[in-house]
């Protein structure tokens, strides 16, 4: 069993190494500190949101609104900064706002027993629109340039955001594996009826999962704002697909009950490596999209094959 879960992670990890190797072989700049740092910082945005998405997908749900949520939370964060709110409150406020967005998703889909796919398809539009309404469609620039601010570099020359992401991966791995809530998430995703029969609070578990997902999207939005120094309502367009792909590449099943947070992180690394690698190797954007799409499909096919063998 242990072996199997390691094998599940090994697949995406090998894929990551191969993709990275191919790009690095074509362009040695791939190995430069600057590019590696860029991949890592870009991964933070997808990766942190992917942790929440992993929880949601394991519980048998889906959240299509996460990209819009990141944009809306970014707008909220930038507005708080321009209103001279103390930085810790900006952080907490943005994360709480994200959690609220998630609560809306979870509350509507479980309370009214609607398909989360449809609910979050709706809130995807609504959150995106809300961000544009709040800003009249123009980005809110921060009064200072965050990237010029050096203390964001953490230990070992790696930005704090990356350390934060790694810490979150560890924390949520432990939560999923070694807490009652975590096992309930798996049980709900694997078979909701069984969970009900066994006395699990299915609705509570689901709402909590969506709220966590939203809060992590809020955190991811903060990282996004820090990277671009602005709250842009049109940012992270289509990012939800990268995030969902990262989770699925990492071994999660869209029918629920299966998946790991570490896998989602590897998936997120793979997604950003492909994007960065394509840019570095001068591959035009349309082709990048084709390649990304193809890799997602291949990852899912491999996953199916693995399941058939088991």
């Amino acid at each position: 069993m242990r072996l199997k879960s390691i094998l599940t992670l090994l697949g995406p990890f090998i894929a990551l190494l191969i993709v990275f190797g191919v790009f690095a072989g074509n362009n040695p700049r791939m190995l430069s500190e600057e590019v590696l740092l860029n991949i890592l910082t870009q991964t933070v945005i997808v990766g942190i949101a992917a942790i929440g998405m992993a929880l949601i997908i394991i519980s048998g749900g889906i959240d299509l609104s996460v990209g819009s949520m990141i944009a809306l939370c970014g707008v909220v964060a930038a507005m708080l900064v321009t209103k001279d709110v103390a930085p810790p409150l900006v952080f907490l406020g943005t994360i709480a706002f994200g959690g609220f967005c998630g609560l809306v998703n979870g509350g509507i889909s479980t309370g009214l027993k609607l398909m989360p796919f449809i609910v979050t398809l709706g809130t995807m539009q609504a959150f995106r629109g809300a961000g544009k309404v709040a800003t009249d469609g123009t980005p809110i620039n921060l009064p200072f340039d965050v990237t010029a601010y050096k203390p964001w570099m953490g230990g070992a020359g790696i930005p704090w955001g990356v350390w934060l992401m790694i810490t979150l991966v560890i924390v949520f791995t432990i939560i999923l594996r070694y807490t009652r809530f975590g096992r309930h998430v798996f049980a709900v995703g694997s078979n909701e009826n069984t969970a009900t029969l066994c006395g699990v609070h299915v609705a509570k578990t689901k709402i909590f999962v969506y709220t966590i997902g939203g809060a992590l999207a809020g955190l991811s939005a903060l990282m996004n704002v820090a990277k671009s120094s602005q709250g842009d309502p049109t940012t992270a367009m289509g990012l939800e697909l990268d995030i969902i792909a990262a989770v699925v590449i990492g071994g999660a099943s869209l029918s629920g009950g299966e998946g790991t947070v570490l896998g989602a992180l590897i998936g997120a690394l793979l997604m950003t490596t492909i994007r960065t690698g394509c840019v570095l190797n001068g591959i035009p954007t349309p082709w990048t999209e084709v390649i990304t799409g193809a890799i997602i499909v291949v990852a899912v096919i491999i996953d199916r094959l693995r399941h058939r063998k088991a």
Binding site: T179, R180, R183, A187, N193, T194, G199, E258
Partner: protein
Amino acid sequence: MRGIRKTFGPTVALGRVDLEVLPGEVHALVGENGAGKSTLMKVLSGAHAPDEGEMSFDGQPYQPRHPLDARASGVGMIYQELSIAPHLTVEENIVLGMEPRRGPFVDRKTMRARAMEALAHFDHPEIQPERKAGTLSVSAQQLVEIGRSLAMGCKLLVFDEPTSSLAQKDIERLFLLIDRLKGQGISIIYISHFLEEVKRLASRLTVLRDGSVVGTREVATTAPEEIVSMMVGRDVEDLYPRTERQRGETLLEITGLSGTKKPVDASLTLHRGEVVGIAGLVGSGRTEFLRALFGLDPVKSGAVKVASATDASSTPRKRWQQRIGMLSENRKEEGLALNLSIADNVTLPCLERFGSGGLLSPAKQRSATSTWIDRLGIKCQGPAQAIGALSGGNQQKAAFARLLEYDVDVLLLDEPTRGIDIAAKARIYEAINEVVTDPQRPRAVIIISSYLPELFGVCDRIAVMSQGKLTRAVPVEKLTPHDVMLVATGKAKDLPENGDRKPEASPNSRPDI
């Protein structure tokens, strides 16, 4: 079929199996789960290709490449789980995969004609060709499946446990249909766990065990004990063990429990150390009764008294805390989380016991589960194996272990032995007897079953559910299966008094109905 061999990796599913079916014969295929019945039939229906061996059909060599091919050659399958497309109409289902065409379009006239011809075999006017298949009852859907094979002019039909989802009266109608098909010269392979069905229908039977044929016998001249021994590979003394039972204090008092539709005003008292059975047809409200009691379905009125607490509606969580556990009739859809491990499935209601400081210990979960794997004889690789990989019988033992691990006082068992092999059944009967005769703390059991010999074998008292109404529970020794069937089918209003010496034990009788 001659010398059929099929292996999956290192597992030999079938080791050189021979099977011969005569024209117009009902040939029963029996064996425990995992004996190779399904694999053999999958080879026959073209779903698997055999590694070795040859098949001939109607004098011709027969090598189906896929199920449609088999159906075109005249071999039709009727599976245990229905394979009906609920959103298509009856006629579309009947011609599915073999749609008659005119140019690029479906030839609706021919389709209708074929469907009518197939449906003419059954006298079920309610199965109209243009109805959506999903709106039909389960037994009618099964007829549509049979019709699908008849429309192709199949000469051999394979029934894979066709009665497992049918109520008693539909079973009898199915048997009449099989008799009629036999009369038309159609051969039938009938797979079943139930020896009674085999005796009723088949002229010969073949027993499979561990992928090999143990023997083929004439049904009329073979004793049931011999068949069971052939299936299990050893002598079976008593399927329903029953040691001395001591009726203790009242554990559960249900008065006038009503759900949104069913049950209607159901009352039952349950004591420590007894097994109470609930008989009745599928759809009579038996399952709804247990679900309402367990807090899975809404309760309209009534009261449930558990030990000292009284309430009407509850939640499954509260019921577990009151030491009541329930085993679902539907293993796959409700009973088990199939892609989780055995340990997770067994310990799910009581995860808080396996850890400290808010952190779970998977090792403790596994060791607790290992105890039950040993005690119930669950065949598996270990507690961490995904439960979906086990056979039905072993899955059911694990589902049962969940109640034992929680250590409940009241076990609500809904069809605990449906679709599982006889050895697993025997183990579950044993376990039921063990819990109610536990010297320290005898538990109590309510068991629902469609199989009367099982109820009479296991229970101390039996109540009958009919159209949502529950009779009082009467000691089994004062009942005959006939009494139960009369009430279940609505031909009698109540179980006979039969000189019941304890009138106070029957507060549930409602003479006014």
